[in-house]
């Protein structure tokens, strides 16, 4: 009987350990197994990939990828390797509204290019994305030959001070610099629930 209990205990311990090890892998496979588009920040390759089902659809070179820590923080930073999800909707610029012409009036111009270009120009190139579990990403669009890291905002400074003078955990922040066009293309992909994997 005692042996049986021991075997059961050992087996349950082994199962828990195996589940713990399998969890992160399962989650990434879940994302890849669905029909959604997700993002992979590959730190060693210095690239941000757009992927679906394990296929790299597009790969953007990173101008910079920095981990921001409050100056007074005593934490030892390590790579934020893991699987995250976008939590909040990024507001899109107001869509161009097509106005149907009155009956009998000539049809509107068929060339949508100017309006589309105007709409794209309204997409921000410096924005923040909130991810779950607890990670803020600031994306900055800058030409590759003119990269200069932006200063922390007042909100960031306040959070840094609070983290420095109390035991409150610092808000982890990732600063990613892409080209302005890539930053805009990324903005359109970041919908709530979009997977964001850091490797």
């Amino acid at each position: 009987m005692r042996c049986l209990v021991l075997v059961l205990l050992a087996w349950s311990g082994w199962t828990v350990a195996a589940d713990d090890a399998a969890e992160p892998a399962g989650t990434e496979l879940e994302i890849a197994g669905s029909s959604e588009i997700y993002l992979v920040l590959d730190v060693d390759r210095h690239r941000l990939d757009v992927q679906a089902q394990g296929v790299t659809l597009r790969s953007w070179p990173l101008g910079e990828a920095r981990w921001a820590m409050p100056r007074l923080s005593r934490d030892q930073p390590s790579r934020p390797i893991g699987i995250y999800r976008v939590t909040r909707e990024l507001p899109l610029p107001e869509r161009v509204r097509l106005v149907p012409p009155a009956p009998g009036a000539p049809p509107p111009a068929a060339d949508p290019r100017p309006k589309r270009a105007e709409w794209i120009a309204q997409i921000p190139t410096d924005y923040r994305v909130s991810l779950e579990p607890h990670l803020d990403v600031r994306v900055v669009g800058q030409p590759p030959d003119e990269v200069s890291l932006p200063n922390p905002s007042l909100g960031d400074r306040w959070a840094n001070l609070r983290a420095g003078f109390s035991d409150a955990p610092a808000a982890p922040r990732l600063l990613v610099v892409l080209s302005p066009a890539d930053a805009r293309a990324l903005y359109l992909l970041l919908r709530p629930g979009t997977g964001f994997i850091v490797r």
């Binding site: 892998a25 981990w67 820590m69 100056r71 390797i81 097509l98």
Partner: protein, 227 residues
């Protein structure tokens, strides 16, 4: 020697010196306070700053498991399409035909504008966007005929026909179409000058040559990745 308080010299000296004395003692105090304030502000500014470490220079977390990562990589390999698949970039209006990591063909296409059309009398609304995600080629059609939806008439200010036969347009879609479901197609175009631009109502338009190549290379059931 004691000075005579009634002496005009001393009186003058007093009146001249007093204000000087007042200024001389408050000035350094004010400067000191301002300096202290400024110093404190600078200290706060410095303390509220952050260190920014290159992500690649950070150590991997202690619980990072390379064996698990390897297993994920193998599983991901299994998920990837075996045969030919299509990748459509809606931001840059490019289509590529791929097999594995090899690109077989690249083409300029047109995708959805993202514009919005309202029909106030009925309250209906359409957003002309190409749907992002993973799709499949559900069917392939030669000489497709477009059954014009209501928005196509509304957009041109024409009345919506009551007879179905008035909706058919045999010329608009070109020689071939690949059906992705929900009314979205990869098809030909009458507006070649708009290729490379976001110009459609959600479908993907190609020129005749690229369309023919896609039609003949991509089997039904193939994956179409739209991002």
């Amino acid at each position: 020697m004691l000075a005579d308080p009634s002496s005009p010299f001393d009186q003058e000296s007093k009146t001249v010196m007093e204000p000087k004395t007042t200024r001389g003692s408050a000035g350094p105090r004010r400067i000191g306070a301002a300096g202290l304030g400024l110093g404190l502000l600078l200290l706060l500014f410095w303390a509220s700053g952050e260190t920014r470490t290159n992500l690649a220079d950070l150590p991997r977390p202690v619980d990072d498991d390379p064996v698990a990562a390897e297993r994920v990589s193998r599983e991901l390999d299994r998920l990837r399409p075996r045969g030919v698949y299509v990748v459509i970039d809606t931001f840059n209006n490019r289509l590529s035909l791929r097999r594995g990591d090899a690109t077989l063909r690249e083409a300029v296409c047109s995708t959805g504008t993202g514009f919005l059309l309202d029909d106030p009398p009925t309250g209906r609304q359409w957003i002309f966007e190409t749907p992002r995600g993973v799709h499949r080629v559900r069917a392939k059609v030669r000489r497709p005929v477009w059954r014009k939806p209501d928005w196509a008439f509304l957009e041109e200010g024409k009345p919506i026909p009551t007879r179905a036969s008035e909706r058919f347009d045999p010329a608009a879609l070109g020689a071939y179409a690949l059906d992705l479901g929900d009314g979205y197609l990869i098809h030909g175009t009458l507006y070649r000058r708009l290729l490379g631009q976001s110009a459609t109502h959600g479908c993907i338009r190609l020129d005749d040559e690229d369309l023919e190549a896609v039609y003949h290379t991509v089997p039904t059931g193939s994956a179409v990745f739209i991002h």
